[in-house]
């Protein structure tokens, strides 16, 4: 393993009984790299992403994050590893009984990453970063989908993660607010965050990705830089998928 690889996935395989959902998955992610997973629904993209912080367990093969093998990590170790991987969900999953500010400060304070005072200051600066300074005291229910997702991004960033995982962050959004979330993600990418993103937003993938993995039927069917995937590939499955979505 080289120093630069933050994540290494080796021969990952996952099956529910006879139904193989992931097979023969291997790839690496370097610091500051942006890896985008694309492909048809049911192809295993989200499952793969969820294996990276072991929200999905019961797989064979290896997922190594900062030199630690997740499958063999103890519960406590796993918690610490998860603190270093932020995750953003399709359905936002904000805590509805907490204000925006409380959503962001809850984990850092509970896990003693920050003092309450520092956590609040940090939360305000994150809210500024995602353009929602004035919503600190609002409850999630009163926000639009795009605003909720931006809060969710701020919440994940509050733990100062090394890596951010995005699971179709714009798929549940109204078309007119997709742009504001992608904008925040682009800014994050420009700041050098390591990101792994499952998305159907092809132009975003093209702009932001260093590496694109095309997943189909549980396998990485094709991979390369955006220029290769979107322009040069001879892989017929990639071509046929892209012709349908672009």
């Amino acid at each position: 393993m080289t120093e630069e690889n933050i994540i290494e996935v080796k021969n990952l395989k996952k099956a529910y009984a006879d139904n193989v959902v992931l097979e023969d998955i291997s790839f690496t992610v370097k610091k500051s790299e942006k890896v985008v997973l694309i492909g048809p629904s049911g192809g295993g993209k989200s499952t793969l992403l969820r294996c990276l912080n072991r929200l999905e367990g019961d797989y064979s093969g290896k997922v190594v994050f900062e030199g630690e093998e997740l499958n063999s990590a103890s519960k406590d170790k796993l918690r610490i590893l998860r603190q270093r991987m932020g995750m953003v969900f399709q359905q936002f999953n904000l805590f509805p009984n907490k204000t925006v500010l409380e959503n962001i400060t809850f984990a850092p304070v509970k896990l003693k990453v920050d003092t309450p005072q520092k956590a609040i200051e940090h939360a305000h600066s994150l809210l500024e970063q995602v353009g929602l300074s004035e919503k600190a005291d609002a409850y999630p229910q009163s926000l639009s989908g795009g605003q909720q997702q931006r809060v969710a991004i701020a919440r994940a960033l509050a733990m100062n993660p090394e890596v951010m995982l995005f699971d179709e962050p714009t798929s549940a959004l109204d078309p007119e607010v997709v742009g504001e979330v992608l904008g925040v993600m682009e800014k994050l990418a420009a700041d050098g965050m390591t990101m792994i993103i499952v998305t159907h937003e092809m132009s975003f993938a093209q702009n932001v990705a260093d590496k694109v993995l095309f997943m189909d039927k549980g396998r990485i069917a094709d991979s390369g830089n955006p220029k290769y995937i979107f322009e040069e590939t001879k892989n017929t499955r990639t071509q046929s998928f892209l012709s349908k979505v672009m």
């Binding site: 995750m87 896990l111 409850y139």
Partner: protein
């Protein structure tokens, strides 16, 4: 018709206080047991989950009156409670009796908690876990507060049932309000008026309780209200 109250009202007051006391202890134990057994029930460990299922099945499938008697006669052999009279009854009866009420209520409360917990989307747990919180912290700080809000109406029902069902402690000699009404009835050779008084007392108690629950619902619901 209710002239006897002039003479017997202290008896009813004492009975009412006794009913309130055993109900509060019963509710408290019921909540504790409900929390413990819902965690067992939802646990990944098969044995714990099995224990919870058995407890719930037995409590729900047998009459409260028999449970109370069984627990009283068993506990009175094991527990050495001093023979202190309190509100007209011996603590050696009141304590096992309230524990029995709590054990009975705990089974129902566990199921109510379970319905609340499974009503919270899985994404809430995943959000907590993905932030690096432990499963326990996620459950107690994120899932349960939301679940409790959803189950307050059902919980209120359970508490009201418990107040009314606390009358079964009459069978083990706890001088709660039903027992006192029957006692007064026996003295008067007329059971109807004192029983009406007892019924009215239960009604007032449960009415106040339901108002309290509604107040709590409002208070917890306000948190979700729109605000900027």
């Amino acid at each position: 018709m209710f002239d006897f109250l002039k003479q017997y009202y202290p008896v009813f007051l004492e009975g009412t206080a006794q009913t309130i006391l055993i109900s509060i202890i019963g509710i408290f134990i019921g909540i504790l047991l409900g929390l413990v057994f819902v965690m067992f029930r939802l646990s990944k460990h098969k044995a714990l989950s099995y224990i919870a299922r058995v407890y719930i099945a037995i409590v729900r499938g047998t009459p409260a009156m028999i449970q109370v008697m069984l627990i009283y006669y068993t506990l009175s052999n094991v527990l050495a409670v001093p023979q202190i009279q309190f509100l007209g009854s011996g603590l050696d009866r009141v304590i096992p009796g309230s524990i029995a009420l709590g054990i009975n209520s705990g089974a129902y409360t566990a199921e109510i908690f379970r319905s609340g917990i499974i009503s919270i989307p899985k994404g809430q747990t995943e959000a907590g876990i993905s932030l690096g919180l432990s499963e326990k912290t996620t459950m107690f700080s994120i899932i349960l507060p939301q679940a409790v809000r959803n189950i307050l109406p059902a919980l209120g029902n359970e508490f009201i049932s418990l107040v009314k069902e606390s009358s079964v402690l009459f069978y083990i000699g706890v001088q709660e309000v039903t027992a006192q009404a029957l006692g007064v009835g026996g003295t008067l050779y007329n059971f109807v008026p004192p029983l009406i008084v007892a019924a009215a007392i239960y009604f007032v108690l449960t009415f106040v309780l339901s108002q309290l629950m509604q107040l709590m619902e409002k208070k917890m619901g306000r948190k979700y209200a729109q605000s900027n």
